[in-house]
Amino acid sequence: QQPVQSPQAVILREGEDAVINCSSSKALYSVHWYRQKHGEAPVFLMILLKGGEQKGHDKISASFNEKKQQSSLYLTASQLSYSGTYFCGTDIAGGTSYGKLTFGQGTILTVHP
């Protein structure tokens, strides 16, 4: 039931791009993306809804393929501040779920100067 993220870890140089994927075995109502820095709370990045609507960070883009139950987060021209662990959280029930999110195992992104 837990979504699967790939890759598990990415190492980049500043300015390089990365894609993080999130795949679910269940039909999804929405996908939420969060970034967590070491020792801190997860911070919201994006919501992608069934039907194509998105909400969130204007410097980060993402996609949501409802048929494949997959989402991807695109980090372009990476900065040192992008380093952290990225989690996707999936909502399989929409308005009936009371907002429960099931998180993937995380993707560790490290950006070097």
Partner: protein, 121 residues
């Protein structure tokens, strides 16, 4: 900017003792959550709470756990008899609904508190 607060930031307790973790959600949010994160692992859902009752709970949230909203601002997680494996970071979160362009309701982002690190010895 509104934020979720949690106290204490770190709690050390002996196995078998009761602990209460406290949270103050964002004031106009109606949906509250507890998550836990064992060191180096993913964030795991424990429980959601709406309208003064539990709306959903995970398998982790057994009889040793309880939640309460004792007043209009605090939201607490109690662990009755702590075990070694309860050692983790506990995050409180709150959220709201928003109206989508299609006219349906959808979940807004969850605002996470800074967490309480629970260490059970």
């Amino acid at each position: 900017e509104p934020e979720v607060t949690q106290t204490p930031s770190h709690q050390v307790t002996q196995m078998g003792q009761e602990v209460i973790l406290r949270c103050v959600p964002i004031s106009n949010h109606l949906y509250f959550y507890w998550y836990r994160q064992i060191l180096g692992q993913k964030v795991e859902f424990l429980v959601s709470f709406y309208n003064n009752e539990i709306s959903e709970k995970s398998e982790i949230f057994d009889d040793q756990f309880s939640v309460e909203r004792p007043d209009g601002s605090n939201f607490t997680l109690k662990i009755r008899s702590t075990k070694l494996e309860d050692s983790a970071m506990y995050f409180c979160a709150s959220s709201s609904l928003f109206r989508t362009g299609a006219g349906t309701s959808a979940w807004n982002e969850q605002f996470f508190g800074p967490g309480t690190r629970l260490t059970v010895l």
